[in-house]
C-alpha cells in the first residue's frame, strides 16, 4: 500500500488555544517501502501515525492511502501502539486475534502462529497483567501482524525491550517485511534501529514537528552496524539533534 502525505498540518485545541503539532508535512511512501521516522519526544510522531491510520483528524492538508483520502481506519492498515494497549479482560491469545474476522478455529490458529513468532507461545492463556513490559509489547506486535495488513504502522514497538530481544525482533520484522511485501512505517528514538530497518529515514524537528530531511539508506548499509558507512549515516542524523561534535561522540559511546 502506498501512502501520500501532502501539506499536512495538525493542531490540537487545548482550552480554545490552537497548539501546532505538525507543520507542513510532505512525504510519499512507495508500495512495499520501509520508512523509519526519528525525532525528539513530543514532535508529533505518534500523532502522525494515528493520522495515517485514520484515528486522528486532519487539520489541513491530506493523506492518501493507495490514492484514496483517509477518513477512517481501514482493515488493511494495522498499527502497533507505543503503549501496548492489550485489553486487560482478554487472554493474550484473544488479544492477538482481536482484529481478525474469521472463524474461531482460524483465529486461534493465526494467533498461535504469531505468538510463536514473538516467542510467547507459553503465555497464550495468560492475562495481560501477568506479562512483563517487554512481553506485552511483543504480544502487541503479534496483534499488529496477525491481520496481515498491507500497511503496518509501528510506534516505537521495541521501546520496552532489552537489547538482545530488540535485535532479534528487528530481524524478525525485516523478515516479515520481505516475506509479506507490506509497507512499513516505524517510529523510533533509536537511530541505529532507524538505519538498520529503514530504506529511508525521516528526520523530524522538534515542535511543531517538521520534516528536516529524508535520508535514503543505500542497500547494504543498514545490515552492518559496525561499518564505516553506518557510522557516517548515524552521524549525519545525529547532527540534527546535537549540533556539536562532542555530544555526538558521547551518544555513540
Amino acid at each position: 500500500m502506498s501512502v501520500a502525505i501532502r501539506n499536512l498540518n495538525k493542531r490540537f485545541f487545548v482550552d480554545g488555544n490552537a497548539i501546532p503539532v505538525l507543520n507542513n508535512i510532505n512525504l510519499e511512501v512507495r508500495q512495499g517501502e520501509f520508512i523509519t521516522i526519528v525525532g525528539q519526544s513530543g514532535c508529533g510522531k505518534s500523532t502522525l501515525l494515528k493520522m495515517i491510520a485514520g484515528l486522528e483528524s486532519i487539520t489541513e492538508g491530506e493523506i492518501l492511502r493507495n490514492g484514496k483520502p483517509v477518513t477512517a481506519p481501514g482493515t488493511d492498515c494495522g498499527m502497533v501502539f507505543q503503549d501496548h494497549r492489550l485489553l486487560p479482560w482478554l487472554r493474550v491469545k484473544r488479544n492477538v486475534g482481536f482484529g481478525l474476522r474469521c472463524s474461531k478455529a482460524e483465529r486461534e490458529h493465526i494467533a498461535a502462529q504469531h505468538l510463536q513468532l514473538v516467542g510467547l507461545s507459553d503465555f497464550a492463556n495468560a492475562w495481560p497483567h501477568q506479562l512483563s513490559g517487554g512481553m506485552a509489547q511483543r504480544a502487541a506486535i503479534a496483534r499488529g501482524l496477525a491481520t496481515n495488513p498491507a500497511l503496518l504502522l509501528l510506534d516505537e514497538p521495541f521501546g520496552a525491550l532489552d537489547a538482545l530481544t530488540r535485535i532479534q525482533l528487528q530481524r524478525e520484522v525485516l523478515r516479515i517485511w520481505h516475506a509479506s511485501g507490506a509497507t512499513m512505517v516505524l517510529v523510533t528514538h533509536d537511530i541505529d534501529e532507524a538505519i538498520f530497518l529503514g530504506e529511508r529515514v525521516v528526520v523530524m524537528s522538534a515542535r511543531p514537528g517538521e520534516i528536516s530531511e529524508v535520508i535514503p539508506i543505500p542497500p547494504g548499509v543498514g545490515a552492518d552496524r559496525g561499518s564505516l558507512d553506518f557510522a557516517r549515516y548515524k552521524d549525519r542524523i545525529l547532527k540534527y539533534f546535537f549540533a556539536d561534535e562532542k555530544s555526538r561522540e558521547e551518544y555513540n559511546i
Binding site: L55, P73, M79, R85, L87, W89, H129, T147
Partner: protein, 254 residues
C-alpha cells in the same frame, strides 16, 4: 501483623460487648423487656421462635431477590445508555439526579398509596433504593472507558454493538460489580425499613410485631440475623465477582 492476630483483634471488641452485656443483665437491675440476657436471645434461634423467624426471613429475602434483580437490570441498562450516548445522558441525567436526592424512606408513603402494603410496594422500594447505586456506578464505569482501548476498537473497525460488549462493558465491569454490591446492601436495608413501617410479613414486620409484645429478645435476634445476612450477601457477591472478572489481579474485589 499475622492473619490470626488480625482476626483475634477484630473479635476482641464484640467479645467485650458481649461480656458487658452478660454482666449487666446477670448482675445488674435491667428489666428483660428492655435488655434481655444473651442466653434468651440465643434461645430465639431454637424451637418454635426459630421457624417463625426463618419464615419471615425467607419472605424478606425473596423480596430482595426480585427487587434487586429488577433494579440491577434497569440500572445497568440506563447506566450503559447514559454512559455511551450524550443524548441519552442529556435527557436522563438531570431528572434522575433530582430524583436521587429524595431519601429512600421518603418514598414509602407514596408507594403505599399507589401499591398498598403488599409485595408490590416492597419491591418498588427496593428498586428505587438499589437502582441508583447500580445506575451511577454503571454510568461512571462506561463513560470512563479509556480512550486508548476505544482507539484499538476503532482501528479494527468494530461495530458500535461489538465495541460496547467487547470494550465498554468489560472495561466498566469492575465498577458495575461495585455498584451491584452496594445495591444489594441497600436493597436489604430498604426491605427491612419498609417492612418495619408497614407490612404483614417479613423480618422487619416480625421485629415490629415483637416490639409490640415487648419481646426484646426477638428484636435483637432479628437485628443480628439482619447484620449477618448483610455480610453473607456481600461476601457471596464478592466471591461471585472474582469468578466473573478473573483478569483482575488478586485482591481487587475487596
Amino acid at each position: 501483623m499475622k492473619h490470626w492476630q488480625k482476626i483475634l483483634l477484630g473479635l476482641s471488641l464484640p467479645a467485650a460487648i458481649l461480656l458487658a452485656w452478660w454482666l449487666a443483665t446477670t448482675y445488674g437491675d435491667i428489666p428483660p423487656q428492655i435488655l434481655p440476657k444473651p442466653q434468651s436471645v440465643l434461645a430465639v434461634y431454637g424451637g418454635e421462635d426459630a421457624s417463625v423467624l426463618l419464615g419471615h426471613l425467607l419472605i424478606s429475602l425473596w423480596r430482595v431477590v426480585q427487587g434487586f434483580l429488577l433494579a440491577s437490570l434497569l440500572g445497568v441498562v440506563f447506566g450503559s445508555l447514559t454512559g455511551v450516548s450524550r443524548v441519552a445522558k442529556s435527557i436522563l441525567m438531570p431528572t434522575l439526579t433530582a430524583i436521587r436526592q429524595i431519601p429512600m424512606i421518603a418514598w414509602i408513603p407514596l408507594l403505599i398509596l399507589w401499591c398498598g402494603i403488599g409485595e408490590a410496594s416492597k419491591i418498588a422500594i427496593i428498586v428505587l433504593a438499589a437502582f441508583f447505586c447500580v445506575f451511577v456506578n454503571t454510568h461512571a464505569g462506561i463513560a470512563e472507558t479509556p480512550e486508548n482501548f476505544l482507539e484499538v476498537a476503532r482501528l479494527y473497525r468494530l461495530s458500535k454493538l461489538r465495541t460496547f460488549f467487547g470494550v465498554h462493558l468489560p472495561s466498566a465491569l469492575p465498577q458495575i460489580l461495585t455498584g451491584l454490591q452496594l445495591g444489594l446492601g441497600v436493597s436489604w436495608m430498604a426491605v427491612v425499613a419498609s417492612e418495619l413501617i408497614s407490612a404483614t410479613s417479613g423480618i422487619g414486620y416480625h421485629m415490629s410485631d415483637a416490639r409490640v409484645f415487648m419481646r426484646s429478645d426477638i428484636v435483637i435476634a432479628c437485628m443480628l440475623v439482619i447484620g449477618l445476612v448483610g455480610i453473607a450477601m456481600n461476601t457471596a457477591l464478592a466471591l461471585l465477582f472474582g469468578l466473573i472478572a478473573p483478569w483482575k489481579p488478586k485482591g481487587a474485589h475487596k
